[in-house]
Symmetry: C2
Subunit: 148 residues, 2 copies
Amino acid sequence: MKDTNTFESVKATFTEYLVKNQHRKTPERFAILEHIAEIDGHFTAEVLYKNMQTNFRVSLASVYNNLDLLTKTGLLTRHQFGSHPAEYERTFHTNVHHHLVCSNCGKIKEFTDKNLKETIESKNFNNFLPTHFTLYIYGYCNKCKHIM
Amino acid sequence: MKDTNTFESVKATFTEYLVKNQHRKTPERFAILEHIAEIDGHFTAEVLYKNMQTNFRVSLASVYNNLDLLTKTGLLTRHQFGSHPAEYERTFHTNVHHHLVCSNCGKIKEFTDKNLKETIESKNFNNFLPTHFTLYIYGYCNKCKHIM
DNA sequence: TTTGTTGCAAAACGTTTGCAGCCTC
DNA sequence: GAGGCTGCAAACGTTTTGCAACAAA
């Protein structure tokens, strides 16, 4: 994957993708990317949309369109824990982390593990170029372990 | 996690969960579990529902209800690649595998990796009792790598 | 000038819910 | 009996779509 250490390089990655695929460099697109860069952790399309209204007017449809585009570039990950709405999370400017998901109550807990990260990232594949990954470990949190 | 080597032990796990949580042992529940045991790989609620109509009549609502219940027991995993509908996959009677997901076209490829499996399964957590996991590695398949 | 993108509103769709009757327990 | 579960159909809420106006190339 390309360098994404600075916001400028993230923007460059997105721009390059847009140009290469005959998409237009609209103000909405960059405004959305800038907002995402400010959000740590998970967010929904609706929340991003509402957040943005304060200083940049975009339609919810455009938010959805562009979350999709950013997901395709690998700059964004889409989670769908349990049900709707989908949750998004940027893959840049963040520590690689994994998710513990309680199968009963849906509670999510994040953790980091260098060894796990390195083991996963060290893999090579034929005919597949990896950019990032998500690991969900399912089981039971303390409150729910009694159900089984 | 409990033994799930035979279908009888899977059924026992489910039954135990039902009893422990004051749920009823209805014929629909066991019919659904039996059908799931026959499906290799991913399936949707709709497909399971249609499959079942040939020899057991259940409503779609009950299918949803019970997929939810089985997900809570950890016997079933719910995937939500891209968008709707959700795809389910049993966690018993299957080799542990991982998913390569193309961020552009959504194509899924499964692979197995003993080292990866063992590394992930070796982890212990405070206040969390793991039962199974899913690893999605995102990137680009051969047909789509040109977009970036 | 061409054509991709936008905002808006309506539509689509999977999933959930309310309810009356049924059947576990 | 009590109350959880079922089927049915209607409702819900997120996401997608159609379309006319706009603006990037």
